[in-house]
Amino acid sequence: MDLPDKDAPLPETLSSAGKDETLHAYREMLRIRRFEETAARAYTRGKISGFLHLYIGQEAIAVGTSLAMQPGDRIVSTYRDHGFALAQGCDANACMAEMFGKKTGLVGGVGGSMHFFERDKGMWGGYAIVGNHIPIAAGHAFASKYLGDGAVTICFLGDGAVGIGPTHEGMTLAGLWDLPVVFVVENNRYSMGTPLERTLPAADITSRAPGYGMVGDRFTVEDPFQVRDRIGAAIRRAREESQPTLVEILTYRFRGHSMSDPAKYRGKGELEAFRASDPFERANRALLELHGMTEEQLEAIDDEVIAEMDAAAEFADQSPQPDPDYRFENIMIEGEG
């Protein structure tokens, strides 16, 4: 994987974007990063328990994807789902409160970090058994084709999910039935602590695409507009031609798999090299170098975002726990539905 260093020329997709859209995308990436950092601190203080998988380093993918979506389109994601929820416009307070296990959480405190759902925002999970959401996403796409609703389902998975059965079966059916779905593998190089050299029989995951009757598209993430354009093309193919696509995005997570993972498996200098090509830092550079913004202005934005996330943590902390009887709710639906 060839990584541009930190002084490399900015990618064309980023340099040709206007100031407002660059600032918007930058701010959304920043919100995700600060949200995750706030969550990590809350975790170390014992406010969040269970599993916590951070999205730091991969933000441009969620932000770019949301830019390419239309109302009615859906994201189906893994347990590393916070970034998608925020990019789709889910309230940071409700997201944070969900992880604190509070009544005010996105799903009332029953889901936690790994199960973010907000139907009306196009945030359709939040699945935590690796690979078992691929058939679900294919099912959403099946319904879209059946109903003719024109919606596209964008399903994210990790490089660690490509070997498991449901991934294969879901993609087989999506390809066989020409379903309007985009599968996006976020290849962050590690299946938990195991590098892809020890999990993938063929390094290029999109080499599987023809076998599923799909178009493949593989690229290293550079900036959110590049992601918007590449995933946008796949979304168009789904919407206009009812053809699925298998996209592989080469990315990197700067934190461990989860909070309990010190990530000692990384190669020497690896993290530093990827940090140097951080799409977030590139967007920062674009604002400074191309759009005449100052360090002070960006710091002021950062202060606002940090304040938003601190407030979210405070909101979550102050929120009540779910009512005791809430544990019995939403198990069965009464009557004919």
Binding site: T172, I331, M332, I333
Partner: protein, 327 residues
């Protein structure tokens, strides 16, 4: 009243519900062009087309998940497993997605889906194709579990299952698809969760469902004839939610219980029944509850060995005598 086979009753239930609601569709292996491995879907492809009668490749976890994902969007899938033995491959989809999504999403999504197909042993299919999944699925909160033994029940309960807003596991039996029975021409529904007294009696309550219903009825006949024992045969019809009220009412009348179960004994549905009976009717019991189950072993292919592993009417008759202290 016309008589139908169980497979025809199932077909008519699906046909009527597909006519009634265009969101209902059937998906599974060989359901369309092949007309169904057991011909339950015969003629449906011709009537409804490939959009609504969907043949799948051999991908149980794939099409079970597709059904769940489609149900979350408001469709009403009927997923046919050629046998519930193959549902083991899709178990994670049913356990972690179908049963939990309504809860896990804080009620934002529902999963109105039916998983149906033959369950339990058939005839000399060997250990991997002879299993009863009753207790596996009945164990899971978030599911309803139905098991049918007559054409009348099959049609009325399948129609209710298709209209139910929750995921429903619907057990049929390969050995019983040809069983005939009366089915009214006019539309009717049977509510999920209600047991049915298949044969009234006074001396012993005999609980059964699915394949053990004909076994229990034959045993009741033997008991009447040879032991002068009157068994009340209750077909549970639904394993989750259980009709505890009907069970306990009968136990309080007879004071003795036998459970005929086509399934393994360890952790079986019968064990749950015993627990409820001892908790709710302890003072009414005149004998320990007896269970007649599959042998606690993987099934053998050989005809004699398989036959020995399955509760026979004679075994159930012996249990009826045992709880009545006739030996």
């Amino acid at each position: 009243m016309p008589t139908l086979q169980i497979r025809e009753a199932i077909r008519e239930a699906m046909r009527e519900e597909m006519v009634r609601d265009d969101k209902v569709f059937l998906m599974g292996e060989e359901v369309g062009h092949y007309q169904g491995a057991y011909k339950c879907s015969q003629g449906l492809l011709e009537q409804f087309g490939e959009k609504r009668v969907v043949d799948t490749p051999i991908t149980e976890t794939g099409f079970a998940g597709v059904g769940i994902g489609a149900a979350m969007c408001g469709l009403r899938p009927i997923i046919e497993f050629m046998t519930f033995n193959f549902s083991a491959v899709a178990f994670d989809q049913i356990l972690n997605n179908a049963a939990k999504i309504h809860h896990m999403t804080g009620g934002q999504f529902s999963v109105p889906i039916v998983f149906r197909g033959p369950n339990a042993a058939a005839h000399m299919l060997g250990s991997t194709h002879s299993q009863a999944f009753d207790s596996f699925y009945a164990h899971i909160p978030g599911l309803k579990v139905v098991s049918v033994a007559t054409p009348y029940d099959a049609k009325g309960l399948l129609k209710s299952a298709i209209r139910d807003p929750n995921p429903v596991i619907f057990f049929e039996s390969e050995l019983m698809y040809s069983v005939r029975g009366e089915v009214p021409e006019e539309e009717y529904l049977i509510p999920i969760g209600e047991a049915d007294i298949k044969r009234p009696g006074d001396d012993v309550t005999l609980l059964c469902w699915g394949q053990s219903v004909p076994t229990a009825l034959a045993a009741a006949e033997l008991a009447q004839e040879h032991s002068d024992l009157s068994a009340e045969v209750i077909d549970l019809r639904t394993l989750r939610p259980l009709d505890t009220e009907a069970i306990i009412a009968s136990v309080k009348k007879t004071n003795r219980v036998v459970i005929a179960e086509h399934g393994w004994p360890y952790g079986g549905v019968g064990a749950e029944l015993v627990d409820r009976i001892q908790r709710l009717a302890f003072d009414w019991l005149d004998a320990p509850v007896a269970r007649v189950c599959y042998d606690d072993i993987p099934f053998a292919y050989a005809e004699n060995l398989e036959h020995l592993s399955i509760p026979q009417p004679e075994d159930v008759h012996a249990a009826l005598r045992q709880v009545a202290y006739r030996d």
